[in-house]
């Protein structure tokens, strides 16, 4: 019931994310994919029950990918992260992998996570993965969507208290 009550509010995307997408989505070498939750359900139905239940709770998945060249200006990136924090996102984890900096941010309503943002910022690539839905923390590392960038969510531990702090 708690999930149902939160569903309507979960649909509103962060203005910080929207503005950033609008700034870069039409640039050359940028791939922009946006999927409504219904489409994700169609594509992933038939998986085991626990994955299926998780997929049902995704309302939107959006990915912006820059391959071969990262054209995001440093100032724009810093502004994005700063605006996300102003918009109630919390930085969960930051790590470095394969020469790229990866940040995972969350937005929550009580114990329910309504938004997940994964940012991969490298010299030759940039990925912004934005997921909206209704999740528990332990769901996040089970989100095996087989989409560019989503594999980094598997670095998250099962429990929030096990997230490494600097």
């Amino acid at each position: 019931m708690g999930f149902l009550c939160l569903q309507i509010n979960a649909m509103a995307q962060s203005p910080a994310v929207e503005n950033f997408y609008n700034e870069y989505r039409h640039a050359p070498n940028v791939i922009d994919l946006n999927f409504h939750g219904e489409i994700i359900k169609f594509a992933f139905q038939g998986e085991d029950k626990s994955t299926g239940d998780l997929i049902e709770r995704i309302s939107q998945l959006r990915i912006m990918i820059m391959e071969d060249k990262n054209i995001v200006k440093k100032g724009d990136y810093r502004e994005l992260v700063s605006n996300l924090k102003d918009d109630r996102f919390e930085e969960l984890m930051t790590f470095r992998e394969g020469g790229s900096d990866i940040e995972i941010l969350l937005r929550e309503k009580g114990a329910i996570i309504t938004d997940v943002i994964l940012l991969l910022n490298g010299d030759d690539e940039f990925i912004m993965l934005s997921l909206e839905g209704l999740f528990r923390f332990e769901d996040l590392n089970d989100l095996n969507l087989n989409i560019e960038g989503s594999e980094h969510l598997q670095n998250l531990p099962d429990k929030r208290k096990d997230v490494p702090r600097a």
Partner: protein
């Protein structure tokens, strides 16, 4: 009571007429010509055409697509191959207007350097799709399909899953974090 009903109808009628103004405005920007095709079709003609076409199409996916035409109530089609006309229009603004003013919702958007494809829908209580807007734009061609439909999400789901089954589209799990995963579509 009758007076109240008439007044209520007069109050809501303008909203009904304004529905999909963004689509009409976009459609009207283009003039018919050698490189621009635009027309509207009522549902019964689509069903008839779909039924006939099904018998003559060899491709299984094509036949499946023709079966879906039974859910279309009417369709407005626009095909533009005039690069000058394509360059002049602002499809971003059109899609934004469709979402913000006409209450469409983005179902899928796929955009890269060469192609811009968006499917927007309006639905009723998350169960039935009442309107569907498909826009595909490349540098040399623009196609817009605007449909009133009687399509349920489960019909769309069955259609997509059937296509995926026929095409044997698989989504393979990553072997490791370095592995870039793509949908595997076997070539014929």
């Amino acid at each position: 009571m009758r007076t109240i009903s008439i007044l209520l109808l007069m109050a809501i009628l303008p909203f009904g007429l304004q529905a999909q103004r963004s689509v009409k405005n976009f459609y009207n920007q283009f003039s018919r010509g050698e490189e621009t095709v635009k027309f509207k079709l009522p549902g019964f003609l689509i069903h008839m055409g779909g039924g006939i076409a099904r018998k003559h199409i060899d491709d299984e996916n094509g036949r499946l697509a023709m079966e879906m035409t039974k859910y279309i109530k009417n369709i407005r089609i626009l095909v533009v191959e005039d690069e000058d006309q394509i360059e002049r229009v602002d499809t971003r603004q059109f899609l934004q207007d469709a979402i913000q003013k006409d209450n469409f919702e983005e179902l899928i958007t796929v955009r890269d350097e060469e192609t811009n494809m968006s499917i927007l829908v309006k639905d009723r209580k998350g169960k039935k799709i009442t309107n569907m807007l498909i826009l595909v734009q490349e540098s040399s061609e623009l196609v817009m399909l605007s449909m009133k439909t009687n399509l349920k999400y489960k019909h769309l789901e069955l259609f997509i899953r059937e296509i995926m089954k026929r095409e044997k589209i698989k989504i393979e799990p990553p072997k490791d974090a370095e592995d870039k995963i793509e949908m595997v579509i076997p070539r014929a």
